[in-house]
Amino acid sequence: MSALFTDAFLTSLVLGALTAGIPLMLAGLGEQISEKAGVLNIGIEGMMLFGAYAGFLVAYHTGSIWLGFLGGAVGGMAVAVPMAVLCIRMGLSQIVIGIALTLGAEGLTALLHHFQFAQSYPRLPAVETLPIPGLSSLPVVGPALFDRPPIVYLAVLAVAVTAYVFRSTQFGLALQAAGDKPAALDAAGVDVVRVRTIAVLITGGLAGVGGAFMAEVGAGIFVPFMTNGAGFIGIVLAMQARGKPLWVLCGALLFGACLSATTALQVAGVSIPTDVIQMLPFAAVLTVLVLFGRKASLPPALGTHYVRGAR
């Protein structure tokens, strides 16, 4: 058991938590933005998966990791556009379209991958890291937290930016109102449909980058269905975080730690079935729900369609 407490083990645990947690965090952050605006985005899994595929493809063909992330964002948004048109403009059920987009993205990416690469899974080169001077030489947390690819720092920065936008900008207020009382926002002269559309597109972009992170940084390859429920975990994170971006980050790291614990334990020579570890985060969140159930608050207008002047 002493092997559990070596620097190598702890470093790989923290690093794994971060690598597994960042995509969850981006998805959760995206979901939070669209939930604030009153759109329950069940299609986030599809947005992530399409982002993963697009990001991988662009990075593979251009050799540029940054273009890859850009491709991921565009890929995620490409799935968000039908969501915006069908659910926000036309008012179709958000749950139906969300599930349709997820199924469609799963099928389409698997098909496209099949026709491009057949059974081969080409690998991307390892992503270069950007050590932060000073901090990166700390024991354990240094190499795990401060010697990461730049996108990691940007992702964490996105949490702060989102928190700032929510709290201190006109757009943040509009988002909040679009989810709480769309009619009031409308009366104030702001176009609810536009606010929600922008929110859903940002969601798609963030989820797409999250997916691209999985393919480019996490795995280095694209495998069909590789997001494997990460988008749904994002939904859970967003709902648990109750509108606070920082809580999304904390929750994502907790989930990430649980997901990466298996690998870390295997490194340390302890073999526990992956499935046991994977149950932990869900069991933890459920315990919280049982203890503090009633507090999981959601925007009142979540999941409802807003028609201008209907009320």
């Binding site: 139906v96 349709a100 099928g107 098909l111 749904f232 459920l286």
Partner: protein
Amino acid sequence: MSNTHTSTPDLTEAARLDRAAASAARAEIWRARGRVALLGIGPVIGALLLSALVLLALGVDPLAYYGFVIERGLINPYGLQATLTRMGPLLLLAAGLIVAFRAGIWNLGGDGQFLLSAVVVAALCPLLAPHLPAWLVLVVGLLVGALIGAVWSVLPALLKAYQGVNEIITTLMMTFLGVSFANVLVKLAFRDPATTVPQTRTLAVADRLPRLFDTTVSSGLLIGLVAVIAVHLVMTRTAFGLKLRIVGANPRAAIHAGLPVPALTVAVFAISAALAGLAGAVEILGVQGNVRADWNPHYAMTVIPLVFLARFNGFATIAFVFLFSVLSIGGESAARRTGVPNFFTLVVVAILLVMLGVAEYLDQRRRAAGK
């Protein structure tokens, strides 16, 4: 027609008016039925055409692909029997979803309820088989499957009923938890010591659900059909169904009307999850015979769109489940022959959902414009 305005309408006149009114009403009913049929069939045709474009873009001949799908899924006797067998568990899952969705409860946890009960049934029945008569093993298996499904929904049910916690999160989490738990059970507790790959003991083919007549179609199909039709009738024709629909349409009004909303919520969860569990049992007792580690067919997630497509109507659900079964069984064969992977079925279902939504939107706009 000139005598319709005579000042003294006689009996035959009244009878003629009656008849005219009746035939107008009949025409109205037929027009409504035609509209519903058009709303159902139009999107299906549209989706098949759009999917054909996807195939063309991938360099595959759509006619050949659909030809193989229809040949294997619908015409070839073995294929058709496989299609019908696949319908059994899907129909049971759909029946569970109809109850929940009509009552306004989003039970997205079907996959966890399905898989966990499948694993328990697969572990239990081969052990019971040597000691009990075959029919009793099956009955016990089905009951245990339903029970396990229901048990797995207790937590979301109580949280929703008494704490108001959104069931979408809780059922999704219970699904992830259930899928992992099922794998843990297969790998650690219920593992068949006789095999090297982690899987449960296998129920002998002779001990499985009886086949229908002289075919390979599992009687699971019958169980599924009975369940869907029963659920449809209960939801549309009984007082209990009406109560559930009121809860679904407007929970606040339901409380005002004096309905025991929390108790009904728990009941809906129990029924819905028990049907999902029953689906797991039927899949094991009728088709698989055992559960391999990491097996998860994601049936519940794929059935959700079908139930929506059918607008929670039991009979329309049967039609859509049949269509999906043809596509998925036929797709497996078409995949081998045309090189299009099975995932294509997912794309078709997704396009179908979107097309149906759009058709409904256009219909609403048309009617709004007509008024």
